[in-house]
Amino acid sequence: MPKKSMELLTETMFYVLMAFCKDAMCGIDVAEFIEKRTGGRILIGPATLYTILGKFEKEKYITEIEVEGRKRTYEITEKGRTAYKEEVERLKQCVEDARAAAFERGDLDEWK
């Protein structure tokens, strides 16, 4: 059955949820977390980050818990945590399927 629109998390969205699963954070902390976690592979742009935060707040994946001057801090909700876990399981399944396909081909070198 095809997924509904918000269930299709992009890679950046996935890492934003990952950041909030670790701890409540503000925007700049999320950007730094993602850069560190991916070794600089993903440098999330400020506009991209704010679009994602707005979308997640609308979908009730995160909720604002504190406003201090120009800093807003968010924490993940149960719905957000569930969406993250579902995505992790989906990605795990993708990797398993890829491993099985490689085994059938006899091409196991890439999995060493």
Binding site: I44, G45, A47, T48, G54, K58
Partner: protein, 416 residues
Amino acid sequence: MQELQHLKGVTWMSGNNGEKKTYYRLVPCPSYDVEGIESWLEDMAEEGLFLTSDGFFFGFGFFHKGEPKKVKYRLQAKSSHGSFVSDGYEPLKEEMELSRELGWEFVVSHGEFFIYRSIEENVRELNSEPEVQAITLKEVKKRQLSSITTCLIWFILYPLVKKNGAFFVPMLYMKTWFYFFTAGLAFWFVFGSVWKFVYYTKLYKKLKRGEQLNREKNWKRKAWLQPAKTILLIVLCCAWGGIVLANIHRTVLFEDEIPLENYFGNPPFATMADIAPGSSYELRDMGYCNTVVEWSDVLAPVNYIWEEIAEVWISEDRSVYGLWDINYHELRWPWMAKLVAKDYMRMDKERDFEIIGELDLGIEYAMAYIDDIHMEKVVLVHGNKVLSGTFHEYAGEQENYFTLEEWAQMMADSIK
């Protein structure tokens, strides 16, 4: 509006008083052409021209001159997600702060977008993921659709609904050429809105596919077109506004109305003086009416509005006193006459409107009805002539001297 932060690393050129001089450049791309505007601004920076916080005005961009530099410009769609609702003039303070920390400076608001720039060569992209950028563009699309609907309602539907769907009579009263001039401007705005929506949709689909925008778009190819359109639109709108003001001025001063006592023309229809030829006739000064307006139009060479309050002595002891009101047109083609007649009935179709019926007056078409202010009215058509007329007798306690059929017959005989 936020003061523009000093662009780091740029040597500014100042005027004699030490202040930065402002340079004006015609914008070569429409405001919705994200790729074109970004490319153009970057090319301007390489010539030493940097967009100021005054942004744009009437098709001109405002720039300060400095040492040429490679600068990245990006347009970010205004969005309203969750608690992120900006006032439309600038982004939220937190977003600007984060952008600044990551190397991007907010410059100015422009239409549906905020313009950012960065002088850092290796700065991370403002939008690092096209699919996410598509989310904000989707909102812009929705707003544009709403704008199209508003344009359609106010420029097309409302004028028609206000006149109960009448088209030809308002056109003749406004003068056909001005009617089409106004309609042309209205369609320009509606079409422009639709075109913008189509452009945003193309851009949205591109971003949804994961494609980055083209930051090296050749804006020079049609650089003359947008300024030409802008200048033409300004000229046309000023001309339209000038004509409207002149017409209002003439209407307020009643310049088009000629008092009947000063009118010596020969109208091609019956007037109250024709009720009883040779009888004593006197205009009654009520402080209004007793005027004629006469004009020519490309679709109707002869047009009259005749409003007369007079008293005619039929006999020594009987006079007829009342309002004789005629709207008369000679159309260029007979087929238009019936359409104009139907328009008059449409315009009178408010509450209490009531059809009396067709009259047999020896002309092509004669319809009588009670209009929205309870007056008996007739609409007559013969060849290319149309007459919409009413005679309201102030008979007091006496019965009206003329019946509807009798005064309608007088009007009909005059246009045969």
